[in-house]
């Protein structure tokens, strides 16, 4: 067994991390904190059990869930540090998400044969969700993006982003149905491009109606990335880029709440106590933390608005320092790297496209929100995967990673080689 011990090292680090977290939170609240103890226990059990399950049942990539566990631990520790109730609720979502991860993984494995034929389902479901958001949506923070189902608030765009990737992957990789090919006198390549563009334009229109600019950017960039990877001509790429730029410019000059976002990005201190309040507080917090941070529980994170969701990264930087913030970034880097690795080593064209899309969305989402809170790009409300507080974000990101895990564990299909 000696040569297997280095496999256990990451697990030991996860346990140490959670123990330290519990200690830090207990210091902060001046006594043993029950929530922190529950958290530590739960994370240790979940990461060990999941790792053993993946390892023994040979379900593919053993690193994905480990990295997710660390991100989740840091997230839950920060949530508990902000407010113990948040920590417990976040833990519940994490556990539900873990279940979701394995269910989606098994589902994807068993259904992999039919997934390419379900394009109408993906598009129909997305459309239904978009319309539901329009009809039943509640407005919060300038965006109409929540619906309430039985007392629980859900953000449908989080689900749609996965359906969008699954749909685009079908459009770009599935063989054309022969009937359609003979009926419509159009080159398959062109048909693909047009379908993909149409789907993206419709999605973007709905998202803009809901005033979800961040997620619109996410969708468009994913579509653009697919175009690039699947060899659309430079001209087509340029046209799409120009169209997007035009929409962005119109948004930045004509739509008032986007104009505010851009103005506060260019000069947040012009109105530091009003419109620029969020971003300036975030910058102050990051500056206050400095290189090494003020210590978890010792910062003054309550000054940051929305600190438990969109601005969690500022709180991490304040209390764990730039060094700690970089550590979180590196965790995302390794996670996304694993995603691309899975995509590269997979032989099935459809799965490859799905893995590419999901990894890309994960990476881009991290960039958009972290870039926003450090004032690298204009701020848009998107969650930081696995760390930000929020149920629908947690569950859908887990589902997406479950798909990655399923793809990494699937037996290489040799049909491509035989052909």
């Amino acid at each position: 067994m000696t040569s297997e011990t280095s496999n256990i090292k990451p697990l030991i680090y996860i346990i140490l991390l959670n123990l330290l977290g519990a200690a830090l939170i207990s210091i902060q609240y001046g006594g043993v904190n029950l929530e922190a103890v529950i958290l530590t226990g739960a994370f240790c059990v979940v990461s060990i059990v999941s790792y053993v399950v993946v390892y023994v049942a040979e379900l593919g990539d053993p690193y994905l869930f480990l990295i997710i566990s660390v991100l989740g631990s840091v997230g839950c520790i920060m949530q508990t540090r902000i407010k113990p109730e948040y920590g417990i609720r976040q833990l519940k979502w994490f556990l539900l998400g873990t279940a979701c991860y394995f269910v989606i993984m098994l589902g994807y494995r068993f259904l992999s044969r039919w997934l390419t034929k379900l394009l109408p389902l993906y598009l129909g479901l997305s459309l239904a969700l978009f319309i539901a958001t329009q009809v039943f949506g509640k407005t919060s923070h300038g965006a109409k993006n929540w619906i309430y189902v039985g007392g629980v608030s859900v953000q449908p765009s989080e689900v749609i982003r996965i359906l969008f990737v699954l749909g685009l992957a079908v459009i770009f990789t599935a063989p054309m149905p022969e009937k359609l090919e003979s009926k419509v006198k159009i080159k398959p390549r062109l048909l693909r491009l047009v379908t993909a563009s149409a789907v993206t334009v419709v999605s973007a229109a709905f998202l803009l109606l809901q005033r979800e600019w961040g997620i619109t950017l996410l969708f468009f960039a994913t579509y653009f990335f697919f175009l690039y990877v699947y060899g659309a001509s430079r001209l087509y790429l340029a046209l799409n880029g120009l169209a997007a730029a035009a929409v962005a410019v119109i948004g930045a000059t004509k739509v008032s709440h986007i104009k505010v976002r851009v103005d506060t990005w260019l000069d947040p201190f012009a109105d530091a106590s009003g419109k620029g309040y969020q971003i300036t507080q975030s910058l102050f917090a990051i500056g206050e933390g400095g290189m090494a941070g003020r210590g978890i529980g010792a910062g003054s994170v309550y000054f940051i608005p929305e600190v438990h969701s969109d601005f969690i990264f500022s709180a991490i930087c304040e209390e764990m320092g730039v060094v700690g913030g970089l550590a979180i970034l590196m965790l995302y880097f390794v996670l996304v790297y694993r995603g691309f690795k899975i995509a590269l080593s997979c032989t099935n064209a459809y799965n490859k496209a799905v893995a590419f899309g999901i990894s890309f969305i994960l990476g881009l989402q991290t960039f958009i929100i972290i870039g926003g809170v450090i004032k690298l790009i204009p701020l848009t409300g998107i969650t930081l995967p696995f760390v930000s507080y929020g149920g629908s974000s947690m569950l859908t990101t887990f589902a997406a990673c479950g798909i990655l895990q399923a793809i990494s564990g699937m037996k290489e299909e040799l049909t491509d080689e035989i052909q």
Binding site: L20, A292, G297, A327, K411
Partner: protein, 149 residues
């Protein structure tokens, strides 16, 4: 006082995250090294060619594996050639080069190492071009293209 303590603990916290990242990257590095040593073949003096049909195996294998001067074959991650067959031992067998010839020896594996159908005993045996090596569920042909000399 609490401030200093939580500061120190936070430093340790961050260091552990970095140690975790290091451990993961190291494991990934070992994986990639194991994966990259397939075919290309041009430089290798000898290689193992898989003769199982790959679709009969429920795990991924390459068609062939180049051999370097000293290879430990097995399931464990300290092996220089890691193969995912469950029927292999953590350290299963060793193939090494000595005076221009290749030798194979069993490293006390549970299910044994077979050369042309005969189980290997304690001592190392010289490999010839075209020998059949069986370990676990895997069957290989040892290929050593004649070097011009």
């Amino acid at each position: 006082m609490g401030g200093i303590l939580s500061r120190i603990l936070t430093y340790i916290f961050v260091i552990i995250i970095y140690l975790f990242i290091y451990a993961i990257i190291r494991m990934i590095f070992l994986d990639i090294r194991a994966m990259n040593r397939k075919k290309s073949g041009s430089l290798a003096e000898a290689y193992l060619k898989l003769i199982n049909l790959r679709r009969d195996l429920d795990f991924n294998m390459d068609e062939s594996y180049e051999l370097e001067d000293d290879e430990i074959i097995g399931r464990g991650n300290k092996c220089t050639l890691r193969l995912p067959d469950k029927y292999l031992s953590v350290r299963h067998c060793r193939i090494y080069k000595s005076d221009g010839s290749y030798f194979i020896e069993d490293l006390g594996s549970t299910n044994g190492t077979y050369l042309n159908g005969d189980e290997l005993t304690d001592e190392a045996v010289e490999l010839m071009d075209g020998d059949k090596i069986s370990i676990g569920r895997l069957n290989f042909i040892f290929v050593m293209p004649k070097t011009e000399g």
